[in-house]
Amino acid sequence: MENNSAAAFIQLKNLTRIYHQGERQQLVLDGICGEIQRGEAVALLGRSGCGKSTLLNLIGGIDRPDAGDVVINGSCINRMDEHGRTLFRRRHIGFIYQFFNLIPTLTVVENLLLPLELNGWDLAEGRRRSMALLEEVGLAQREASYPDQLSGGEQQRVAVARALVHRPALVLADEPTGNLDAESGQQVLELLDRLVRDEQCTLIMVTHSQVVAARTDRTFSLKQGRLVSDGEMVW
């Protein structure tokens, strides 16, 4: 990703998102602004249904805001067309979900290879990289297993590896430990923490756990569609 010295790595400008349910409208995000620096690890806290995932989807280019802009490293991704966003996402962003979202019909290593293939990596190179990451997450021996043969914690470790395998600049994690027991969750978090720093990625992690949030550089909360930093209103 091109460097941009002055501006922040991620800029959220007056982001607004409204859900339509029949006649009723629900303001989920109400003019959110904010900046995140390169290499920062940020936690996003809030209650169920407060719009954390929506915000994450907007940043990831999966959803589009009704108003406002998402600028990542100088590119305003909501202004891109569908195809442009897909290519941007494919190249620069890694996703981690609560329910792992591995491709059930691909083996562990194939799941890692898929983003690389989409990005046009050399196959041998991709394989080396994938195996190295699997080594890191401690699942190198399980490379030929299918996701449903792994435990939840193992699946999430694979998901972490997959999110990082194509060296994205930004990793978006949506409740990565929400579906895991405490021990596995801890393991995944440590892994994520270590890898993000090793790979010099920016991390935005949605969680409702203060404990998890405490591991990050900064914490935001979403309340009534607005962003609150460290317990107080910033804007």
Partner: protein, 844 residues
């Protein structure tokens, strides 16, 4: 291999049932199309080849009326020096050991430029064969295969039958045709023209004279025509083949249309399967989108899956089709022999065109069917969870536009029917109608669900309500399945009503037209009626029988003019038979005097329809005295032939044609004469003279109805196949539906539904779908029947008939739909009730 593809293939591999069913559906559809095409094509090729074998290099032919050409015309032409390349031919059919053999009588010295019939004699043949052929009465050549089959050796005498009379023949030699002509020449007898004239009882006559006039201009042809007596005509050699092909044209179009119907149902199936598989993978598609797969990646992916299924199905379909064609071709041949002319089709001719057609239809149709699900896949948003209610909301939103386009299509179908009078337009309208109807189906289903929910709720409690709700909830899928099933059932209703109406009309017609007591005709193979005749001695005996009140004598002939063959029947009618004719547009007391005294004919409804003729107008016929006009005294109802028939009184026929033969006779007995005794007497008196069919009218009627049923046997088979395809369709749709809902069902199990209750739920749901299909099929079926009766039948054959709708046909349709649906629901229901809830719940 690309990982996306790998994922996709593994997905298909994990759903072998769905995969297998949709492959089977396509395969059945393609198989029916290919089989019908092959059967049609084989019949056509066999016909072409046999025409080619007997026409050879001839470019033109001189033909004449039913009696044929006076043999002296050939001598006159030869001695004029105008036609050095000319060959006389006499041909006809003989029977031996239950087999119909075609006899070609040739003049060997004139032949060499025309046909290479004599080139296929094996080495054992020497000049002795030609000497024998030309000098020995009864000497014939036969194919080696037949001779071996009959266990005849060269030099052996055997007895052939023509027109019920015995003819002595000697096997002069056996020919071995080359592979491509084997099928055609297998049942061919070749003889010198002298022998052929004697065997066929046509001494003094020729069937035709073949000519080679490669670049004759109009003036040259006219100069040749100058030499011909009135009644003899010079025509292009291809004309006869064209004319005969024309007769079967409507028949083969009808078959093709039926087969396309099966394919349409098959396409519904692939659409259903793939859109289901897309739906099922919506979440997965979403994950892929998140990972950066583009829309075109996914579109291509699903398209490729369709291509894969389509290709596999098509390949299997081709194989099945070839197997099926072996059976179908027999049915097709049977029908052609019953209705049109003698044709033997022994070999299935696998033409690349037929195969390519099947492949294009199968693969192309599959791609077409998969475009919608593929677009659906491409439009999958990159969200991690996509609930299906959103899809269903979309489907429900689509319901109205779909219904509207359905209405537009129905209007289009109506317009098509009104604007064009062609048979093709009739079929096109039929298909548009079906398509329009299927677009309306979701709307109907939705309406019926709303009505059905309280009913099912009352009947089965909340599982009943849930069952109906499930149908409506998954409209995008159930709609398609119901449409496919109802089209299939409607087809059977339509065809069933048509056949039944037809059969009833034919039965009534037979009752009224076959009122004579006893029917007498020579014992001859079917399709050869035009060349058989009662022995004059037999006619004499019949005419002098005491106890006979009246005799109806008939002589059916075929008259060729241009590339059309007209069927004409000359009749000597006793007064008793007048009542049997039902005239359509004039009272009989107006028709009969004209028919009896004037230069007038009566024409069948089909003939009138095809030629746009009406009573009071006139038509022209090629007689032995040139083209002559005849008044049309009346139009009568008749189901004998699809291209129609002209009837003329015998005396008028004999004024214009040099033909005195009588083909058959009907006897009207005096009151009180015992039919059985009379039959016995007839056998005693004429049995020596000629092998005859002597039957009572009742038996004849039964035989006619049997022939009718045999003719429609192929229709029944196709109907069953269409249902088969639909059954597979509904099975796969239901399975897909139930599997898709496995989680929901597991929850039900978890909250306390017993397996039996669950089974009931699923069964109620499939039963409901079957019921809806059956209900929707009835109106569509009736519309289809109307189109078949008033458009397709009318345009193909010119027949009108009374529409007969029996409750049983409709009831059967309902039952069929219900049964098919319930049967199809068995496995999914069983599977659902067997799955432990935990497992289903655990499946993510």
């Amino acid at each position: 291999m690309n990982l996306l593809w790998r994922a996709s293939l593994r997905y298909l591999g994990r759903h072998p049932w769905q995969m297998a069913l949709s492959i089977l559906g396509i395969a059945l559809g393609v198989a029916v199309v290919v089989a019908v095409d092959l059967a049609n094509e084989s019949a056509r090729r066999a016909f072409d080849l046999s025409m080619q074998t007997v026409t050879g290099q001839a470019t033109h032919q001189i033909v004449a009326g039913p009696k044929g050409l006076d043999e002296n015309l050939y001598v006159k032409l030869r001695r004029s020096g105008r036609l050095p390349a000319s060959a006389p031919i006499i041909e006809g059919h003989l029977a031996y050991a239950g087999q119909t053999l075609r006899l070609l009588g040739i003049a060997p010295f004139a032949e060499s430029r025309f046909r290479d019939l004599l080139s296929h004699l094996p080495d054992e043949a020497e000049e002795g064969v030609l000497r024998q052929l030309m000098t020995q009465p009864g000497a014939v050549l036969m194919s080696l295969e037949r001779a071996q089959g009959f266990d005849l050796s060269v030099g052996q005498s055997f007895e052939l039958r023509h027109s019920g009379q015995k003819r002595q023949a000697v096997l002069a030699g056996r020919f071995e045709p080359p592979a491509e002509q084997k099928a055609v020449m297998r049942d061919l007898l070749v003889a010198d023209i002298s022998t052929a004239q004697e065997l066929l009882g046509r001494v003094g006559w020729l069937s035709r004279i073949d000519l080679i006039l490669p670049d004759a201009d109009a003036a040259e042809l006219d100069a040749i025509r100058e030499l011909l007596p009135p009644g003899a005509r010079l025509i292009p050699a291809a004309a006869r083949g064209t004319a005969m092909q024309k007769m079967t044209h409507a028949f083969s179009i009808n078959l093709t249309a039926m087969s396309l119907l099966a394919l349409v149902v098959g396409l519904f199936l692939i659409y259903n399967t793939l859109s289901f598989s897309v739906l099922q993978r919506r979440e997965l598609m979403g994950r892929l989108r998140v990972l950066g797969a583009t829309r075109s990646d996914l579109f291509r992916l699903v398209l490729s899956e369709g291509l894969l299924i389509g290709t596999l199905g098509t390949l299997l379909g081709l194989l099945l089709g070839i197997l099926l064609a072996q059976e179908l071709v027999q049915l097709v041949t049977q029908t052609i022999n019953d209705l049109y002319f003698v044709l033997t089709v022994r070999e299935l001719s696998l033409t690349p065109a037929g195969i390519i057609k099947g492949v294009l239809l199968g693969v192309g149709g599959s791609l077409l069917a998969v475009v919608v699900p593929a677009s659906e896949a491409a439009l999958s948003p990159p969200r991690r969870v996509q609930d299906r209610s959103r899809v269903e909301t979309g489907a429900r939103r689509l319901m109205q536009p779909l219904a509207w386009s359905g209405v537009v299509l129905l209007i289009l179908a109506a317009l098509l029917l009104l604007m064009s009078k062609s048979l093709a337009a009739g079929f096109a309208a039929l298909f548009v109608l079906i398509l329009g109807f299927s677009l309306l189906t979701p709307l109907w289903v939705s309406l019926l669900c709303r009505c059905g929910a309280p009913l099912f709720g009352a009947l089965f409690g909340s599982p009943g309500r849930m069952a109906v709700g499930g149908v409506q909830h998954s409209l995008s899928r159930t709609g398609v399945a119901i449409a496919a099933l109802s089209i299939a059932v409607a087809t059977t209703v339509g065809v069933g009503v048509m056949v039944e109406s037809f059969r009833t009309s034919v039965q009534q017609w037979l009752e009224s037209s076959l009122q004579a007591d006893i029917f007498i005709a020579p014992d001859a193979p079917s399709g050869t009626g035009y060349e058989t005749a009662l022995n004059p001695a037999v006619v004499q005996i019949i005419e002098s029988l005491p106890g006979v009140a009246g005799i109806r004598q008939s002589r059916p002939v075929e008259i060729q003019s241009g590339d059309e063959i007209t069927r004409l029947t000359a009749l000597r009618l006793p007064k008793e038979s007048y009542a049997g004719m039902k005239f359509l547009d004039r009272p009989p007391e107006m028709v009969w005097p004209l028919f009896d005294r004037e230069q007038a004919v009566i024409i069948s409804e089909s003939y009138a329809y095809h030629h746009g003729l009406h009573a009071g107008e006139s038509l022209e016929l090629e007689t032995d005295q040139g083209r002559q006009p005849f008044k049309i005294a009346g139009v009568f109802r008749d189901y004998e032939t699809g291209q129609g028939v002209i009837k003329m009184r015998m005396s008028l026929y004999r004024d214009y044609w040099a033909d005195r033969s009588i083909h058959s006779a009907w006897l009207y007995l005096e009151p009180g004469v015992d039919i059985d005794l009379m039959m016995e007497r007839l056998y005693r008196l004429v049995g020596e003279q000629q092998a005859l069919h002597i039957r009572t009218s009742r038996i004849l009627r039964e035989a006619s109805i049997k022939t009718f049923d045999r003719t429609f046997a192929i229709t029944h088979v196709l109907r069953l196949l269409v249902i088969g395809v639909a059954f597979v369709g509904i099975l796969s749709a239901l399975m897909a539906l139930q599997l898709e809902r496995s989680r929901e069902l597991a929850v039900l199990r978890a909250i306390g539904f017993t397996p039996r209750q669950l089974w009931g739920l699923v069964t109620a749901q499939t039963g409901f779908m079957g019921l809806i299909s059956g209900l929707l099929a009835i109106p569509l079926g009736l519309v289809l029947a109307s189109v078949l009766i008033f458009v397709v039948n009318r345009r193909s054959f010119g027949w009108s008939m009374d529409v007969v709708v029996s409750g049983s046909v409709l009831f059967e349709a309902l039952l069929l739909a219900l049964f098919a649906a319930l049967l199809a629901g068995l496995y999914p229901a069983w599977r659902m009730s067997q799955t432990p809830p935990a497992q289903a719940l655990r499946e993510e």
